[in-house]
């Protein structure tokens, strides 16, 4: 079944907003029991969040009323615009996470909002990894801007990477390496 099918199932669980929230584990388990793999469920939940059908908060997926979804999308776009400004449209390749958070805070956001934005941005906008800085060889956690024309390809690659990681894990366990 397609991603679209799972997203519609997620939406249907909220019964047009009559149900305001569902526990995250409960929702995931329910979808897995219908035969979907964890990775597909995770991807569909991401898509439902992207469309502002639901949001995740403190372990619960909460229904977003359709009347405010466009405003929520606009808010996310403003966050993306802030990040674009921080990265100067891609001219700056790498920032540590602390540097990005500090730059967001300079723009009036608090710690929690800054962390929330990084969470949203990870879906489509920023590539998180660790790299060595300078001559110290010390690894530092940070993120790079993903150019708009490469975002679809990044998302596909991440999906593929998760799947191949799962296969690798199974292979290792079968070989008795774990």
């Amino acid at each position: 079944m397609s991603l679209e099918t799972i997203v519609k199932m997620i939406e249907a669980e909220f019964k047009d907003g009559k149900k305001k929230q569902i526990g995250s584990k409960e929702l995931i388990k329910m979808l897995q029991e219908r035969g979907f793999e964890y990775e597909d469920v995770d991807e569909a939940l991401d898509e439902a969040k992207r469309r502002k059908i639901i949001e995740l908060d403190s372990g619960f997926y909460k229904w977003i009323d359709p009347s405010i979804r466009e405003a929520e999308k606009a808010k996310t776009q403003r966050y993306y615009d802030m990040l674009a400004e921080i990265y100067e449209g891609g001219k700056i390749e790498f920032f540590t996470e602390e540097e990005v958070k500090a730059a967001l805070k300079e723009r009036g956001l608090d710690d929690e909002e800054a962390a929330h934005i990084l969470g949203i941005a990870e879906r489509d906008f920023l590539d998180f990894y660790a790299d060595t800085l300078g001559s110290t060889k010390k690894l530092v956690a940070g993120c790079s801007w993903i150019p708009p024309e490469e975002r679809a390809s990044y998302a596909d690659a991440e999906k593929e990477s998760n799947r191949s990681f799962k296969k690798w894990l199974e292979k290792k366990m079968m070989q008795g390496d774990y």
């Binding site: 403190s58 372990g59 969470g119 894990l169």
Partner: protein, 167 residues
């Protein structure tokens, strides 16, 4: 990890390692090499508390035994109540730097040196083995058309020399 030997030997090592524990994605210009290491001795009690709370994927082995794993992402912190989120941030931060196994750090450095490309390390998963024993999994990644082509060309030369392709 190969610490000694000339460039050709190291190239052969990585060609084999990527074949066994990695992948080449020609469509998206990405080379991955996966690695794992124990984190059981490193996690603190509060880390374990949140690991237990987070939703997990599950994989079933041919033996029917089920194993669970957490796929890292920033948004997972929002699974947690506000007062526990700093613990998740700390866990992610330690996975990204302090806890990266030495072998992976060395492989990253050697890849950068012998292929002249930039390699990134990404914390990927926490895997819960038997009796809740914890292991971390990381990915060394080289991406971008230029870096991909540069590295693939050298990797293929190792296969050519071994006779795998032309053989």
């Amino acid at each position: 990890m190969i610490k000694f030997g000339n460039a050709a030997i190291r190239n052969s090592y990585f060609e084999r390692a990527i074949r066994d524990d990695g992948s080449r994605d020609y469509k998206r210009y990405r080379i991955s090499l996966m690695g794992a290491g124990e984190i059981e001795s490193k996690v603190k009690l509060d880390h374990r508390v949140i690991i237990n709370r987070l939703p997990k994927g599950e994989t079933t082995l041919p033996s029917e035994k089920k194993e669970t794993y957490i796929v890292f992402s920033k948004h997972l912190r929002e699974e947690l109540p506000f007062e526990l989120r700093h613990v998740y941030d700390d866990l992610v931060s330690k996975m990204a730097d302090e806890w990266v196994p030495t072998i992976l750090r060395e492989e990253k450095e050697v890849i950068e040196r012998i292929y002249g490309v930039r390699a990134k390390i990404r914390p990927h998963q926490i895997y819960m083995g038997e009796n809740g024993y914890l292991r971390g999994k990381w990915e060394i990644r080289v991406q971008g058309k230029e870096a991909f082509n540069k590295m693939v060309k050298q990797l293929d030369s190792a296969r050519d020399e071994e006779g795998d392709i032309k053989g």
